[in-house]
């Protein structure tokens, strides 16, 4: 294929992946919607017994919602596969690593997040995160379209193998942060219901809040060293070669630092102060918000040295 054809292919694949991911999202939404309906009909059969609202978590799941969940995961896998193809084609079209501008960060970042999620589905059974992860991926892909630029070579500042190391580490950490944040959101929702004893049919499709809390912690604990490496080791080394100083409080650097501090606070709170639960989850969400801002927001603001990565 010629470079143009690769670029063309990458664009088509990107659009297809977005559509498939949208279907995956719909599958998960349907899963939740149906869970509600099934519950309602079961209630009708059993009669109005308001007491028994927390059956054992391992209760045999409803086959339809179960199937929808699997369809969602499969579609997410398909979307991830197409996205991988799109990113590879993009790299071939541009003859370099495919993460040199905002559009490509969006694509490659979503790809990595989906892959991280799918791996965790296999190893830890986190398919219950599917709705949030696919929905979030959809939003990022959608936003990426607005930053589209044709495939092409890099600006000179990006000619460095640190581009590969720095960005890859940061994106991988970001994928894990996303999973951690999704688990924390669900944790917050479910733990509240657990306290009030109002765990409904939809929430019952999710694991107990303690399980989600633990997953969030593990994922964030894995992401944090990666983030430290990507943004506070590889980043400054590259900055030294590219800009003549390793740390200059450029907005992107500031926000990478803030993100680091918040996640450090999260790990501290979890590891030492024993702040399991709500407060830790809130910390994690603030951390994720600061991550998003350092990854995306700062570039959109358009100030600082990193902004040419647009």
């Amino acid at each position: 294929m010629s470079l143009e054809q690769y670029a063309q292919f990458s664009n088509y694949a990107m659009v297809s992946a977005t559509c498939v991911l949208a279907l995956a999202f719909l599958a998960h939404v349907a899963e939740w919607a149906l869970a509600r309906k099934v519950e309602a009909s079961e209630r009708a059969l059993v009669g109005a017994d308001g007491q028994d609202i927390t059956p054992p978590v391992d209760a045999p799941a409803d086959p339809v919602t179960e199937r929808l969940s699997r369809v969602g995961v499969l579609l997410t896998g398909l979307a991830a596969a197409i996205l991988v193809a799109s990113v590879i084609a993009r790299g071939l079209a541009a003859e370099r690593v495919p993460w040199g501008n905002m559009y490509e960060f969006g694509l490659a970042g979503t790809m990595i997040a989906l892959v991280v999620y799918l791996v965790l589905v296999r190893t830890n059974g986190v398919q219950w995160l599917g709705g949030i992860v696919s929905g979030f991926g959809l939003v990022v892909l959608g936003m990426s379209i607005s930053t589209y630029v044709p495939a092409g070579p890099l600006v000179p500042a990006l000619h460095s193998y640190w581009l590969v190391i720095h960005v890859a580490a940061v994106m991988l950490a970001g994928g894990l942060f996303l999973v951690g944040a999704a688990a924390s959101v669900l944790y917050l929702i479910r733990s509240r219901s657990e306290e009030r004893g109002t765990v409904g049919p939809v929430l019952r499709r999710f694991p107990a809040s303690a399980v989600m809390d633990k997953i969030a912690y593990r994922v964030n604990a894995a992401a944090f060293p990666l983030w430290t490496f990507g943004s506070l080791i590889a980043g400054p080394i590259w900055a030294h070669y590219a800009w003549g100083r390793y740390w200059g409080w450029d907005p992107k650097e500031v926000w990478a630092f803030i993100t680091w501090v918040v996640y450090a606070g999260y790990l501290h709170a979890r590891a030492t102060a024993g702040w399991k639960g709500r407060r830790a989850a809130l910390f994690c969400l603030i951390g994720f918000a600061t991550f998003l801002f350092s990854y995306y927001g700062v570039n959109l603001f358009g100030s600082g040295l990193h902004s040419y990565a647009k």
């Binding site: 495939a151 430290t228 070669y241 590219a242 003549g244 630092f257 803030i258 590891a271």
Partner: protein, 529 residues
């Protein structure tokens, strides 16, 4: 009032007590966490308000746009957040808190390293996880098997003569606290390294046109900043000349005009008297010399212009730096000709690398950043340049207060438009010529001492962090009592995690299974299976 004696005593003690209380507060986890978050919050404004150390020009623009707010912000240090007193205060408190916490912990750790595993609790069933089984193996065999299954833990086996039991005490996971201490120490190392770098470091920016030289002294810099402990006398005596500035752009395709290559070919002398050497500086490839590195941070065009005055004298003949306003390299520049007779002359205008005419009368624009069709467009003023008043002037700004614009015969401003090689006659005599096109390199010279300190700190810190997050300290006890008269040996096992984990019960089940397999058949391969 008759205050009780005890109370008076307490108030005498108060200052010391208070200090101790303060110290305990400061070095507590909660305070450290709070300070950490406060540091994050304090860092935020600097990412929205322009910073002196980052972009001086943006600060000036901001000050002009916000005449009422700017002085207040300035007084509060918001234009240099990261060196402001309040930011430094948080940073220092955090550091004290950190050290105040690490040092005692190190002492505790040193003691823990020498300590033997603690004795078993009396009642195993109160432990978070425990189990018991019977075996035909002897107590001694049980202890041997226990050692093998526990692997690299620190282990003591103690006979309790009184109760007739033997107990095995095991502790593992010492690396966790070590990792934790290493991590926190490394944060201090990073902070110290950064402080050293900024106290003794320097950074300067300079624009050098092709063919011109630079020697590393303060007066040669366009901008210069340094740490408070840096002495400008200590600038290392290197020098270099920019032989050629290469700038290439994408000639076609969707990214037409995007930069492809910037490279400055230089000839440098590291110390006076040494033989000159050649080097290619490009982005990500600085020239690293003893005491400083030279980075290429930008480039632009510097047309060589020659001005002849009314008396026929050549009064200006030099490359003029035109500063690019954006990625299109449409650039702005100024020429000051103080020696012109009968009056001083000043020119101000633009440079277009690839000019195209936009039709009748409309100003030309540039369609490509490479120099395909270079064009200099100028307007002219005569009068007093104001250079003699001793007020420092920017070379990029023409002070027009005491000058008169020069008009053509129609009373319109006199426009000069030159391609390379072209000469234009000036009203009132004299001429201006666009001799040739040169480029300039914008270079940054910088030195940050002790740079490897923060790098080593973060790198080792991450390893420590991984250890402290992954290692799981655990205490395990095995108690065995020989059966009397041929009845089986009773074995009890209990475990306690120093950092509570929910997986413990499952893991103790695994442990029991392994333990029994080890006892049943002592070939390790099979017992593991």
């Amino acid at each position: 009032m008759s205050a009780p004696t005890r109370e008076r005593r307490a108030s005498e003690l108060a200052p010391r007590e208070f200090l101790r209380w303060m110290w305990r507060q400061l070095t507590s986890m909660r305070t450290a966490l709070f300070l950490l978050l406060l540091l994050a919050v304090a860092a935020v404004p600097g990412s929205f308000i322009p910073q002196r150390g980052v972009d001086e020009r943006a600060v000036e623009v901001y000050v002009m746009d916000h005449p009422t707010m700017a002085p207040i912000l300035d007084a509060l240090g918001f234009f240099s957040v990261y060196s402001s007193p309040w930011f430094s205060a948080i940073y220092l408190l955090l550091m004290v808190s950190l050290i105040g916490c690490i040092v005692p912990r190190m002492a505790v750790y040193a003691k823990a390293l020498r300590a033997r595993p603690p004795r078993a609790p009396r009642n195993f069933s109160r432990m978070p996880a425990s189990g018991t089984f019977e075996t035909s193996a002897s107590v001694e065999e049980v202890m041997h098997a226990g050692r093998r299954v526990l692997g690299r833990a620190r282990i003591d086996v103690v006979d309790d003569a009184g109760s007739g039991t033997t107990e095995l005490r095991a502790e593992k996971g010492y690396l966790r606290e070590l990792g934790n201490l290493v991590f926190h120490v490394s944060i201090v190392v990073v902070l110290v390294g950064v402080a050293v770098g900024s106290l003794w470091g320097y950074r300067g920016a300079v624009i050098v046109t092709e063919g011109e030289g630079f020697s590393n002294t303060l007066s040669q810099y366009n901008e210069f900043s340094s740490g408070p402990l840096f002495d400008a006398e200590d600038l290392p005596p290197f020098s270099f000349r920019v032989d050629r500035m290469i700038a290439e752009f994408q000639p076609e395709g969707p990214q037409r005009g995007a930069p492809k290559l910037f490279q400055a070919d230089v000839t440098y002398t590291e110390r006076p008297g040494e033989d000159p050497e050649q080097y290619e500086i490009y982005v990500n490839h600085p020239l690293s010399l003893d005491g400083g590195s030279v980075f290429l941070v930008g480039q632009g065009y510097a047309p060589v212009l020659r001005v002849t005055d009314a008396t026929g004298e050549v009064v200006f003949d030099d490359a003029v730096v035109f500063l690019p306003s954006d990625g299109s390299y449409e650039s702005q520049g100024v020429i000051k000709v103080p020696d012109a007779q009968p009056e001083q002359m000043g020119f101000q205008g633009f440079f277009l690398p690839t000019a195209v005419s936009a039709g009748d009368g409309a100003p030309s624009t540039s369609i490509y950043p490479g120099a395909v069709n270079p064009l200099v467009g100028l307007r002219m003023w005569t009068g007093d340049l104001g250079l003699d008043e001793g007020v420092p002037q920017s070379v990029y700004v023409l002070e027009k207060d005491t000058m008169t614009p020069v008009n053509d015969e129609n009373g319109e401003p006199f426009n000069i438009s030159l391609s390379p090689g072209q000469v234009q006659e000036l009203p009132g005599g004299g001429s201006i010529e666009f001799v040739e096109l040169k480029r300039f390199a914008r270079l940054q010279v910088a030195q940050t001492p002790a740079m490897t300190l923060p790098l080593a700190g973060v790198s080792v810190g991450v390893l420590g962090l991984i250890a402290s997050l992954m290692v799981r300290p655990r205490r395990t006890w095995i108690r065995a009592r020989a059966g009397e008269g041929g009845s089986p040996t009773v074995v009890e096992v209990a475990a306690l995690d120093r950092v509570p984990r929910d997986e413990l019960p499952e893991e103790i089940d695994d442990f029991l299974a392994q333990f029994r397999a080890e006892l049943g058949d002592s070939t390790p391969e099979e017992s593991r299976a």
